[in-house]
């Protein structure tokens, strides 16, 4: 990789690049340019490596190979992929099937484009046999996975958050992370405060006006922050807004789901899992997060539905 394009930002540097279909950035302070370049290189390399490994759009990725072999022979995956799949498997067990990396198939029935209508119930019924981690043959010790025909897995969201934590871990190991913030498309990890000891100010997207303005911000001095939810996607049924979050067990949107959930946790991955699971709790999201005892922010759609 050539020297990363760094821009000065306050008493530090910002490195911006594209990965995971969105903007990513590293903010570092208290480092000379060459060290900030090393940091940028580590972070970008990690992001691109994770993306390449787990992209479901690439036939040569680990996930691409698994999906392509569905219904055929078992696939042996590399150690990192096995660790991510095992994490997904444990999250599936712990959440009683609510967190499911095989639920992406349901998107074939659902069209979340503006003005789209809900699918026929039969269309969803037809897909349900192809959803459910319990149907997957997974041997973590041998790192062997075999999907039944027609099934697919997607490590997208989980992969991005793991990449944030891994990139942060690499920065810390290299001694470059005293004052650093890793941000992959809104999933973040702060390794430490800014150079002056103040926390990083993190802007939150307002889901009702996404991309247009920040709904506000929050202070993050250390730890992970992840957000789940996207209010741009929704389906109207009889003038009523159906949620965009699909329950993998029913194939239908979870009623009363917030438009977005942000969670603070000790890792970005944990924050992301908790945010996704909170979204799937629907109307109980806030109560469920309170039970988990984690700092969080829940945004709900305009009740009129727009």
């Amino acid at each position: 990789m050539d020297a990363p394009a760094l821009q000065p930002a306050g008493p530090g540097w910002v490195h911006r690049f594209e990965a995971f279909a969105g903007p990513c950035e590293l903010l570092v302070e208290g480092l000379p340019r060459w060290a900030a370049e090393d940091a940028a290189r580590l972070v970008e390399t990690e992001a691109l490596a994770v993306e390449a490994r787990w992209s479901r759009y690439r036939d040569d990725s680990q996930v691409g190979r698994i999906n392509a072999a569905a219904g055929g022979a078992a696939v042996v995956v590399d150690e990192e992929t096995a660790a991510a799949i095992e994490l997904a498997a444990q999250a599936w067990r712990l959440s009683n099937g609510l967190f499911d990396i095989s639920s992406g198939v349901l998107r074939r029935a659902w069209n979340f484009a503006p003005g789209a209508r809900p699918p026929r119930p039969e269309a969803v019924e037809e897909l349900l046999p192809l959803v459910g981690w319990g149907k997957v043959d997974w041997d973590p010790a041998a790192r062997r996975i075999r999907l039944p025909a027609g099934m697919q897995i997607d490590l997208g969201g989980l992969g991005k958050e793991l990449a944030v934590d891994r990139a942060a871990g690499r920065l810390a190991a290299a001694g470059l992370g005293a004052h650093a913030l890793v941000n992959f498309g809104g999933d973040l990890f702060a390794l430490g405060p800014r150079l002056d000891g103040r926390p990083w100010r993190v802007g939150l997207d307002d889901p009702a006006a996404s991309g247009r303005r920040a709904a506000g911000g929050l202070d993050l001095a250390s730890g992970g922050l992840a957000t789940s939810g996207d209010a741009r996607r929704h389906v109207l049924q009889a003038g009523r807004r159906l949620g965009h979050v699909l329950d993998p067990r029913t194939g239908w949107p979870v009623p009363g789901a917030p438009s977005s959930v942000s969670v603070l946790a000790s890792t970005c991955t944990q924050a992301g899992l908790l945010a996704t699971l909170a979204l799937l709790q629907g109307a109980r999201a806030e109560a469920w997060l309170a039970e988990q005892g984690v700092a969080h922010e829940v945004l709900r759609p305009d009740p009129v539905g727009n």
Partner: protein, 433 residues
């Protein structure tokens, strides 16, 4: 927008997920976050031992805190407890020597040995420092210090400004420090060249003082991603009471026979210059520090010191994650001050009536030509998530010419340089909270 946080009644899922995540992140682990605005505390204890001579135990505690706006505050307290025997300055002689200390205790040395005076003292020192940005890429550091012993008081202040170049690859620094020392020796200051170590010494002043001014200009440059070099130039001037109140020097006759001892005399000013070049080279995981320092003053002392240390991080070899091993070697060679004398020779340096024929003279072996080696090893390792411990062991060996050309007569049969061997051990820990 504020995040809502609530006390946990039961969080089985969050906890179990955290465990699962740490499994998935594996050996890489999640980065350990650094807390904002916390205190950091360092405590260390130095044990210094000169063979057969001086023992020093020096505990130090240091507190520092990073404050909003890039400001930093630091405080350091040192307590020394010193005991043992210190050379009184007079060289070994061809016959036994006896002296009376200012407190009236008699001591002496056999022929061929260096007389040493028993002592016991303590020292307390307090230093405060403050750092804050004063302009873009510019930081000011201010310091104040005080040090107190039974017969000594020092007060000092310093100011340094550091400025990074626009590229942030270079840093200029300029500093000035000023300190005032007041020495009130037991028995007072004595008349130079008057009889040393007798019951009735001639006191000329109960106390005296000196002023020390130091200026420093430095430049540090990141030469490439592996190499950082620092060059520092220092100019200092000491003025006032430079003569050591407890040091004497011997008087010998033309045949080298011991005749007695007199109080030493040093010039009342000293102009010092230092040039210090330091390099840090990062070899991937490990770091090499290499430095060269030249010192010269208008007393005729010049010294060259070379230093090399290797910061070895052995994690991948022995599973010692977070450990640092730092072997270190330092070599130094110094020339003698113009007025250094092993002893005053009657008829050459002092007349038979005891009137000096030289303006200044001292037999303090710290002003003699010498070569010194220091070998050390420092180990540092984590003690917990926010704490580290360290241990440093050093051996210092100083040697000089035991048969110098200036020795006369009977002196030629003696070993006139007291070789010095020192062991130092420092154990410490640091903690951030």
């Amino acid at each position: 927008m504020q995040l809502k946080s609530s006390a946990s009644k039961a969080a089985p899922l969050a906890g179990a997920l955290a465990l699962a995540v740490s499994g998935a992140l594996g050996s890489l682990g999640a980065a350990r976050p650094v807390r904002a605005g916390g205190w950091s505390v360092e405590q260390s204890t130095l044990i210094y031992r000169e063979a057969q001579r001086v023992n020093v135990v020096e505990p130090v505690i240091q507190l520092s805190r990073l404050l909003p706006g890039d400001k930093r505050f630091g405080l350091r307290y040192t307590y020394d407890s010193m005991s043992g025997a210190s050379p009184n300055g007079v060289a070994a002689a061809d016959r036994a020597q006896t002296y009376t200390s200012p407190s009236g205790n008699a001591y002496g040395a056999a022929a061929g040995e260096f007389p040493q005076r028993e002592f016991r003292d303590w020292r307390q020192a307090l230093a405060l420092d403050w750092e804050q940005p004063i302009a873009e890429r510019t930081v000011a550091l201010l310091g104040a210090s005080a040090s107190l012993e039974t017969d000594y008081l020092s007060l000092g202040a310093s100011a340094t400004v550091k400025r990074e170049t626009a590229s942030r690859l270079g840093t200029w620094s300029a500093g000035l420090s000023l300190s005032s020392e007041r020495v009130s020796p037991e028995g007072g200051f004595k008349k130079p060249f008057s009889a040393y170590g007798t019951a009735s010494d001639d006191e000329i002043a109960a106390s005296d003082s000196k002023i020390i001014v130091d200026g420093l200009v430095g430049y540090s440059q990141v030469l490439n991603r592996h190499w950082v070099a620092d060059l520092n130039l220092g100019l200092g001037r000491d003025a006032g009471a430079m003569t050591e109140p407890y040091k004497g020097l011997g008087v010998v006759d033309a045949a080298g026979g011991h005749r007695g001892a007199v109080y030493e005399s040093r010039p009342d000013s000293r102009l010092r210059t230092t040039v210090d070049l330091h390099n840090r080279v990062h070899l991937g995981r490990d770091i090499v520090h290499a430095g060269l320092r030249w010192y010269g003053d208008d007393w005729g002392v010049s010294a060259l010191t070379g230093e090399l240390s290797y910061w070895f991080k052995p994690e991948s070899f022995f599973g010692l994650e977070g450990w640092t091993l730092r072997p270190q070697v330092r070599w130094s060679r110094q020339s003698a001050a113009d007025f250094f004398r092993i002893a005053l020779v009657e008829g050459r340096d002092i007349d038979l009536a005891g009137a000096p024929l030289v303006e200044h003279a001292s037999a303090d072996f710290r002003l003699d030509a010498m070569t010194a080696w220091t070998l050390g090893l420092r180990v540092e390792a984590p003690l917990g998530p926010a704490s580290r411990w360290n241990l440093k062991v050093e051996r210092y060996l100083q040697s000089g010419d035991g048969s110098p050309d200036e020795a006369v007569g009977a002196q030629r049969a003696l070993d006139l340089y007291p070789e010095l061997e020192v062991w130092m051990a420092t154990v410490g820990w640091s903690w951030t909270f």
